[in-house]
Amino acid sequence: MSEPSIVLEAKGITKQFPGVLANDTVDFDLHLGEVHALLGENGAGKTTLMNILYGLYKQDAGEIKVNKQPIAIHSSKDSIGAGIGMVHQHFMLIPVFTVAENIMLGDEGTGINAGFWRRFCALFIDALLLTTAFFLLEFLLNHLGGALLSLVLLPFLGIILAWLYFAGLESSTKQATFGKQAFGLIVTNENGERLSYKVATLRFLAKILSGLPFAAGYVMVAFTANKQALHDKLVHTLVVDVGGGILDRKTVENRVRELSKQYRLDVDPTALVGQLPVGVQQRVEIIKTLYRNANILILDEPTAVLTPQEADDLFGIIRELTQRGVSVIFITHKLKEVLAIADRITVMRAHHDGRSRSHSQGGKKHRQTRR
């Protein structure tokens, strides 16, 4: 049997609160796909250790490694980024929000798929720009006469035309890309194949008619060497920073449905969390971590609030998760549950002087046979 790969390792974690040494050089590790039970009486420092792993506290000393890489955890954002998810004993859910809103909170997505609003923002910017152009033109007409006018007006019209051209080219869903030739631009389709000018022009007209999204940016795109980079930057600014501020509930709801089906969690993303039973709320919490691609799941006293039936359901879910490569840290009081679910056990014990240490009980002794 090969050595199990360690996904999470904490070494020498020490945490001092005023008057209490909550963790004293605690060592802890977690193998891939196992359920590691963390036992201990109240005040033994289990939750403190987990809160350190989840970034709610900062350890005074000690090192945390995820997938053998040491990481610095300053906030829960870092932990989430490292793939650690935590289901707190008291759920961190907002009762008046829907399931999907609770899950997306803090990680709402880029909003790139918010099709309507993306176009809306783009068109708004276009309208603004066209209006400005119009007034500029009017100003020029009023203040410049005859020959001078044509000198200004012609290049101006040229710019407008170039702008329309590029706007049309890139605004389609099938993104056209550019290549450079001696005389200017060759037009290629999304696979990099060259298009004839006839086809390109037809496409261009179709795209013009479908609106002028992002025209504002494309004036610049047209005159810059590194078009793709600028294009990405523009899309980022316009779509992610402006359009992305708009919630894309549909995409999140679909993702939640998908996850809920995949892990057999059975959660309706449009339901209000406050109206769900506790067991379902816990599943929402689990989906919340899966939505953030967590592969290390910390469950803090998960059965404390559940009925026996709900607890059995939870064990089924945990087995499902571990089979799919999620490693679980299971904090509990109840020995019966530990024997039922855990692959390995660590006991944390408070010393009389308030210190705590961990003792790992190894192996597959208590291992449940899996389906």
């Binding site: 906030s75 859910l93 909170l105 803090g106 708009i246 919340k288």
Partner: protein
């Protein structure tokens, strides 16, 4: 907004409008009276609407703001001060001066809100006390400076108030304002238009954007927001300051849109009525706006009755005493806050400082 509430609002507005029609029907047609009442209602509801929006921003993020009144008063004074200073010193056309006044008003409202934010978020002072501090401070600052700048001998303006640049112009909504009788409703001043647009914008921001979702999360369950990596304090700070700027815009209404002068205490409790409108509207922009319109209608009643005072029949003579009608908004506030028209649900963490 449930139907009960909507019905109540419609009923009160109908009663208030009906009273004026009853009094003035011999002088002009009911339709004209109702239209002009509606136009006045929308106009005088402006500071209430903006104040309520200010409260929504703060309280949705979990910071109780009873300092709206103070923020409005400060903005009214400093906005006006900036406008007349600029007009007197630069001697230019009134419009830029007025816009600067509005901007300065919003800025001073934002600064007062910053003070409130520092007190209630960073130093975790009781938020009611913090708001009271704002209110008292505003009365003090504006009263003192008003006296020092304009009414003391040897002051900058030598004991006289310089000529004010007037009030903000009206903007007629194209086409709609050309409708024969009702067109008057669509002929409003700029801050009033801004308030109506802001109601829609705030609704959108609060319920359709990432920022709104996070704001509401912070006001409902800050710890939950914290565990998913949202900076609770920063979110609250920004929302309170935005709220202060909206209150500032509402304050600018008094001295830059309504009348071109300042007098001490001129906000006259409007900030508190705005708070009531926010509560009655269940912390939603449209709800708050409709509640603000009820209060606006009560105020419009007062204005119109003054206009028709010679026509008031003997059996309605008690209305002639302006106190009686002037009390209407305050009586309505109390009535609404008793909760007889249904309970409202504030954000759960409203008023609670967040301890990490």
């Amino acid at each position: 907004m449930d139907w009960k509430r909507f019905g109540f609002i419609a009923l009160i507005i109908a009663i208030l409008f009906g009273t004026v029609v009853l009094v003035g029907h011999t002088a002009s047609s009911p339709l004209v009276i109702i239209t002009s009442m509606l136009a006045t209602t929308i106009a005088v509801a402006t500071p209430l609407t903006l104040g309520a929006l200010s409260g929504i921003f703060c309280e949705r993020a979990g910071v109780v703001n009873i300092g709206i009144e103070g923020m409005m008063l400060t903005a009214a004074f400093f906005g006006w001060l900036a406008a007349i200073y600029m007009s007197a010193i630069l001697n230019i056309s009134p419009l830029p001066c007025l816009f600067t006044g509005v901007a300065v008003g919003m800025l001073s409202g934002g600064l007062m809100a910053l003070l409130h934010a520092v007190l209630s978020i960073t130093f975790k002072v009781d938020q009611i006390i913090g708001g009271t501090v704002i209110n008292i401070l505003a009365v003090g600052i504006t009263g003192f400076m008003n006296r020092q700048l304009f009414f003391e001998k040897n002051s900058i303006f030598g004991g006289s108030v310089p000529h004010a640049p007037g009030v903000l112009p009206r903007f007629s909504f194209p086409f709609l304002s050309d409708i024969p009788v009702f067109g008057r409703i669509f002929d409003q001043q700029l801050i009033t238009w801004a308030a109506i647009i802001l109601v829609i914008v705030v609704h959108f921001v609060l319920f359709k954007t990432r920022w709104g979702l996070r704001t509401r999360a912070v006001g409902e369950h800050p710890r939950a927001a914290d565990t998913v990596g949202i900076n609770v304090e920063r979110t609250r700070y920004i929302n309170v300051i935005i709220g202060g700027m909206l209150a500032g815009l509402g304050g600018a209404y008094f001295t830059i849109e309504s009348v071109p002068s300042f007098e001490p205490l001129m906000t006259n409790g409007r900030g508190f009525i705005a708070l009531a409108a926010m509560i009655f509207g269940n912390w939603t922009p449209f709800g708050a706006w409709s509640a603000a319109l009820v209060f606006g209608a009560a105020q419009a009643l007062q204005i119109k009755l003054q206009y028709f005072r010679d026509l008031i029949p003997p059996q309605l003579a008690f209305l002639q005493i302006s106190y009686v009608v002037g009390l209407a908004p305050y009586i309505l506030t109390m009535l609404i806050l008793t909760g007889i028209i249904g309970k409202t649900v504030p954000p759960v963490a409203d008023g609670q400082p967040y301890e990490k």
